[in-house]
């Protein structure tokens, strides 16, 4: 074995230890609820808790609406920029990167001040309105990931030729986007969707500050009041994240590998 691969192995093994220890410890801790033996009691309690079911269900709903909103905003924009307005691409890219620079807590703070019940747009005046604002906030947080995924997907197909071919055959804009572009970037959109899901499902800051009964604040609440259930919830959350990422990886195998593009 070469010297370089010795230190490479050491790096990987030390890194693996750092990453696996917390996971093992959490799993072990989550099984320790019953004194003196391992049991799934913590999981039973968590799954049986109706607040778990309610908040988790709520967050899944919000995540789904976030994904729909994100797709509606990002796909037509990214498509239109590739097709007609490539010169404003730097501006759009910069805007999509802003949520990585402006902390979520600042954005939601702005919402609270701008869209209060006395403002011209009183999102916060009703529960439905607040749900909508939370969905919008999540769509903003997911913007960098969604845009990148869709834009990468569009890059592998020849948007212009596909569009022109469809137009010659008499297709209108809705047909083109729904029947031609969307199916071709579906894999990319789905990747972005699952990443969005992973980010949104346990999000704490926005949901907590908007006082919505989401999964993130529930997690925090359990953490402050219970001993073993948080570990079980952490294991569940890790499994959800892992699931989303695995789906993305499986999807990437079906992605079109750069069709014959002129440039």
């Amino acid at each position: 074995m070469k010297r370089s691969s010795v230190w490479a192995w050491i790096t990987i093994i030390v890194g693996a230890a750092y990453f696996f220890l917390p996971l093992i410890a959490t799993l072990e801790f989550s099984l320790r609820m019953r004194r003196g033996e391992y049991s799934l009691d913590a999981y039973r309690i968590v799954f049986g808790d109706e607040r778990f079911q309610a908040t988790f269900g709520y967050s899944v709903m919000i995540a789904i609406f976030t994904i729909i909103l994100g797709v509606l905003i990002v796909v037509p924009t990214a498509y239109w920029i590739r097709l007609r307005m490539p010169w404003i691409r730097p501006v759009v890219e910069f805007i999509t990167l802003l949520p990585l620079i402006i902390p979520a807590i600042v954005i939601v703070f702005g919402y609270i001040r701008m869209y209060g019940s006395n403002s011209p747009l009183p999102f916060l005046g009703s529960a439905r309105g607040t749900d909508l604002l939370l969905t919008i906030g999540y769509a903003t947080l997911a913007l960098p990931y969604m845009y990148r995924a869709v834009d990468t997907g569009l890059r592998t197909i020849d948007v212009r030729t596909l569009t022109e071919a469809a137009q010659i055959l008499g297709a209108g804009w809705t047909t083109i986007i729904a029947r031609i572009i969307l199916p071709n970037v579906l894999i990319a959109v789905l990747s972005g969707a699952f990443l969005t899901f992973a980010i949104v499902i346990g999000e704490f800051t926005m949901a907590s500050l908007l006082n919505r009964p989401a999964f993130g604040p529930y997690l925090q609440n359990i953490g402050a009041n219970r001993a073993y259930e948080p570990a079980a919830l952490a294991v569940i959350a890790f499994a959800i994240t892992w699931g989303c990422m695995s789906v993305i990886q499986v999807l990437s195998r079906f992605a079109p590998k750069s069709a014959n593009r002129p440039n």
Binding site: K2, S4, S5, A8, W9, T11, I12, G15, Y18, F19, L21, P22, L23, A25, T26, E28, F29, L72, I73, P76, T77, W80, W87, I88, V92, I95, L98, P99, L100, I102, P103, A104, I105, V106, F109, G110, Y111, R113, M114, I136, A139, T140, A198, I199, G202, E203, F204, L209, G216, L219, Q220, G223, P230, A231, L233, A234, A237, F238, T241, M245
Partner: protein, 300 residues
């Protein structure tokens, strides 16, 4: 609609030809995006920025900014910056080492794909559950703490605390390192094997090759990633809040408390606090852009 034509006028200076007679429909395609970004990203932020320079009576003032410089708030910024910087720099260094190991270390192929897959997961495993995981590991009853105590090492007696600066930094590294691996691996893939061989035939040692070629080539992406990791940690609140409650004095937690209960007894000081956060992450990015344009000369 007035909104759209106004922005179209800005563009016509740059692109007189493409504009021509298609002007209105042209901009309709991107209008939803710009309206969305304006309403839910830019204006709310601007609202706070403007508020930071006003007092309760709506008059312009620098008092809120000046008030940021009181010891307790300064301390919060200072702790936040230190934790973000430490976790960003350490995360970048360790992430870089791992990325180099999987790209250049001559390891079997499955190590690379397994590491990348795991990094994708771990970089998104943040927030409240991450805090739970580290409490179960390094909390007072955590597995590692207990095991170490059994072999005679009491880390809490030695001054370690999961609720401290280093505890939080160690926790943040759980998503910082994998994020670095995910971002920097393609950059290392871009280093050509022939560069190293060319340097060797020209008589360069490995150290000289790294100093004169590898580090300068990687530097822009390295620095860019460090900035991203910094912003990532600087804005993070869920992990810290779940880990420490409000006992650790960092800016996002202070701002969280301010939004919930006006603990600073001055709403406009809250705006200034938020403005300060944007300034810190913004400055980091300005520094990065400045650096990048400097090295841009050899970047295509």
């Amino acid at each position: 609609m007035s909104n759209l034509t106004a922005s179209a006028d800005v563009i016509k200076v740059a692109q007189p030809k493409a504009r021509s007679r298609r002007l209105p429909t042209h901009w309709l395609g991107v209008a939803p995006f710009f309206i969305f970004a304006l309403m839910f990203l830019i204006l709310p932020t601007l609202y706070l920025v403007v508020g930071a320079f006003q007092n309760n009576a709506g008059e312009w003032t620098l008092e809120n900014i000046a008030n940021l410089f009181q010891p307790s708030i300064l301390a919060a910024y200072w702790v936040s910056i230190r934790i973000s910087l430490a976790s960003a720099v350490l995360g970048a260094l360790v992430g870089l080492a791992i990325a180099i190991a999987i790209v250049r270390g001559g390891l079997p192929g499955w190590v690379r794909s397994a590491t990348l897959t795991f990094s994708g997961v771990a970089s998104n495993f943040a927030g409240v559950p991450l805090a739970f995981a580290f409490l179960a590991t390094l909390g007072r009853l955590g597995l590692v703490t207990v095991l170490l105590r059994e072999v005679g090492v009491n880390i809490y007696a030695l001054g370690f605390n999961i609720l401290s600066f280093w505890g939080l930094t160690l926790t943040y590294l759980f998503f910082q390192i994998p994020l670095m691996v995910v971002i920097i691996t393609p950059a290392i893939d871009g280093l050509k094997k022939e560069w190293g061989e060319a340097a060797a035939t020209l008589g360069a040692t490995t150290t000289q090759y790294w100093r004169m070629v590898v580090i300068p080539v990687l530097w822009p992406s390295l620095l860019g990633t460090v900035i991203l990791l910094f912003a990532n940690a600087f804005g993070a609140i869920a992990t810290a809040y779940a880990l420490t409650g409000s006992s650790l004095n960092i800016v996002p937690i202070l701002l969280y408390a301010q939004i919930r209960g006006d603990v600073l007894h001055n709403p406009h000081l809250g705006y200034a606090l938020a403005f300060g956060m944007i300034v810190v992450t913004g400055l980091a990015n300005v520094f990065y852009i400045w650096f990048r344009t400097r090295s841009e000369r050899w970047l295509k």
